[in-house]
Symmetry: C2
Subunit: 320 residues, 2 copies
């Protein structure tokens, strides 16, 4: 489904009557009108934002692509559940409901340099986990991830979907050194070569080069579209997962905005390829949905201004 | 007074122990450590932010420098008091206490192209209004303004304090056309020529070329320093008022961060002159403290992460 054109037009009309010079709230005005279309109301809101984190493990860590050991994935899931991670604090700050789905952490994907990362059954199960995780009553949706090693599958997806030198898509992740960066680029290049036959099929790219939490994010973003819930995208990994949908069905991300551009080097390039301009640029590179959750503050501010300000007529203020 | 170096060091130490890769929260980490210094605690907070709006009228509107009539100042003050303006919605969204001080609205400043904008008694009274408006119990301070015509005195202050062609400091304000822009540049140039004798004295610059709400903002920012309350600066007018303090006493704005860079063309240049990097860049140009209030969302997120996240030891997570 697409945005509600009538609600969008009504919101644009309302925007022109609010007590401010035309355009003085800049991108906040565009945001509010955009949310109006997806929420189907001229008074959009961010009262029930939902944050869903998916976690998965990756066989490609055998290629030495992460600064942290794989056991950190399950440890961080416990930290999410105990309320101790960054995303817990950000969700609380902006009044978001937060859920965590750990997907088969004791069964990492296959090392994609040697085999498809997932079987068809596995990728379908992960997509379905994402699909089922979305609360249809949410008014804004954020999804994030945890998975040691997952900037490497994300870079592989980006390279497969948009082309270009693998080295241009890999970055420091949680903090690898130069040698680690070279190992990441090499793993991506070998993965692309091994799965060359499927590179023109975005869902096969997801299966062969992605990971369970990436597939789940894609499933959740697709479900949000079916429910017409606007989505705030997080960083490189989330955006790479989302890009699978866009390459499979152009326009599939029309209900998504970019919450931020991260410090992970491929993210800005990926957003540009998708035509998304980020709301924030604060050097984050944590994942967990943290950049998108932080952007909820901007969304809340934009929608509060649009939906609750007085008009010139209501306030008795002279127009320009 | 300066920041508490011990609190800052303790916060930096805590930051290194939190459950995230080093540096993964980017500027949020720097922000938290900076707030720790000014608040004198290793667990800084944004639980009692205060937003104070000052309003004033300007004789220089006689030069045709605004797209709106001067009566809008008092009308917007009524709108602030009724809760209908953008800043009301943003203050509510981020839990800020908001106050409005209308300063002698029926007595505009003198037209600075013809006389000093204020007498000594008037500028001192406005500075004192600002000084008295700060709640010493606030943990973060935001100040904003309303005053039809006030981008012109702001541009005059910027030009007087930092030099350069007046045309380079004036912008569209609430939306003047090309001819209005030329009138603004001309008014600033004539103001600078008339008050050439005082241009090396920042407080005299404020008196001769500023306005009551600009002086009040400067007084409030100085008081926040005395109380060691960190300040989030708003747009061009707020920053121009603040710049008076920095030129009078270098380092006077060390307790201030830039909440955003506005679409008013001189603002980015002014922030660069002050060495302040903005948190947000969303094309706002409304004033009222709106950009700074919106940045409170980022501040709240940063401080919540820093002060409430679990450490690696607390969460039982392996380090990198």
């Amino acid at each position: 489904p697409g945005p509600d054109a009538a609600a969008q037009a009504a919101a644009a009309d309302r925007n022109g009557q609010l007590t401010k010079p035309p355009g003085a709230l800049g991108r906040l005005e565009d945001l509010a009108i955009w949310f109006a279309g997806w929420q189907g109301t001229d008074r959009p809101h961010c009262d029930r934002p939902q944050v869903v984190i998916f976690a998965g493990n990756h066989g490609v860590v055998a290629q030495g692509v992460s600064a942290f050991p794989a056991e950190v994935t399950v440890q961080m899931v416990a930290n999410f559940r105990a309320g101790g991670a960054a995303i817990n604090q950000l969700s609380r700050t902006f009044g978001a409901d937060m859920a965590v789905h750990a997907i088969e952490l004791d069964q990492p994907t296959q090392d994609f340099t040697k085999a498809p990362a997932m079987t068809e059954a596995e990728v379908v199960a992960a997509l379905a986990t994402g699909w089922a995780a979305v609360d249809p009553a949410a008014d804004v949706f954020v999804t994030g991830e945890m998975g040691i090693g997952n900037t490497t599958p994300a870079a592989a997806l980006a390279a497969a979907l948009f082309g270009g030198d693998p080295a241009g898509w890999v970055g420091r992740g949680t903090g690898v050194d130069e040698a680690g960066l070279a190992r990441k680029a090499s793993a991506v290049a070998r993965g692309l070569a091994r799965h060359a036959a499927v590179l023109d099929d975005p869902l096969e790219v997801l299966r062969c080069l992605g990971g369970r939490e990436l597939a789940a994010m894609a499933g959740a973003i697709a479900r949000a579209r079916a429910e017409r819930i606007p989505v705030v995208l997080d960083g490189f990994i989330c955006t790479a997962a989302a890009a699978v949908l866009e390459r499979a069905v152009p326009g599939a991300l029309d209900h998504c905005i970019a919450g931020h551009v991260s410090a992970e080097s491929g993210h800005g390039r990926l957003l540009a390829a998708l035509g998304k301009e980020p709301l924030l640029n604060l050097g984050l590179r944590l994942g967990e949905g943290s950049g998108a959750a932080l952007a909820l503050g901007v969304v809340k501010g934009a929608l509060a201004c649009h939906s609750d300000m007085a008009t010139f007529a209501e306030a008795g203020v002279s127009g320009g």
